[in-house]
Amino acid sequence: MRLPEKRWYDYLWIASLMYLSLGFFNILFAWLGLICFVVPLAIALIGGNKAYCNKYCGRGQLFELIGGRLRLSLNKKPPEFLRAVWFRYAFLTFFMTMFLLMIYATYLVFAGAGLKEAVTLLWMFKLPWNWADVSFVSPWIAQFAFGFYGVMLTSSVLGLLTMVLFKPRSWCVYCPMGTMTQGICVLKNRKDKADGGKSQADCNAAQGPCQ
């Protein structure tokens, strides 16, 4: 039996926790969240794999830690719809639509509209967030930060809720980035499938959907 060795990336949950905390001190730190968008997409597009989800996702690690080690998860089987392809892609579509609306709001501020110093939680609740000084940057930069932090906070709250109700990493089942990167990997590796799917050697070595 192999004992898992701790690597540097096993501590990325600290970065995730710091990210959420820093947003309370100054909303402009929200821009750092773009790393969680760009890196997984780049890995999937260039490498054709989900190494980000599998190794580097600090949020997944954080849920694993809180729900698993700290036992704050009920560890129940999630409802079947959560893992259904239709639900995952519907949630991705919804999430991306809200993301694009946030980009549009940023554009409006760029075009001259007033800055709204609020973070929208769960796409409905506007939380006043006007204690940080954002006067030293262009209003659209601050607007994007407010919007993006709302996206990150919303996904964290949803992740925490499903962590408590179901299994620690339940968020990973319907995470829009996970769905998107898996879709990219499937498309990227479609050529292999078109050539006859997994080779018999693969099927012999690895039992997945060969079953």
Partner: protein, 70 residues
């Protein structure tokens, strides 16, 4: 490694999150090209840790069939 009587099976709804990879004590699971978890039947000892960790509950531990390759 001697074969166990049971083996982990992954359904097609796998989200390839990698939770199972982390808990597998024998390193029998890999994420195949970012698409799904693949179990190496020669390494799997059927302990069920992967099934318990799987957030999507798409892993089952079942008795080994007679058709897998040794």
């Amino acid at each position: 490694m001697s074969k166990s009587k049971k083996l982990a099976f992954v359904s097609k709804e796998c989200v390839a999150c990698g939770s199972c990879v982390k808990v597998c004590p024998t390193g029998a699971i890999t994420i195949y090209q970012g698409m799904y978890a693949a179990v190496n039947p020669n390494r799997c000892v059927g302990c069920g840790k992967c099934a318990r960790a799987c957030p999507a509950s798409v892993i089952s531990v079942l008795p080994r069939g007679g058709d897998e390759v040794a």
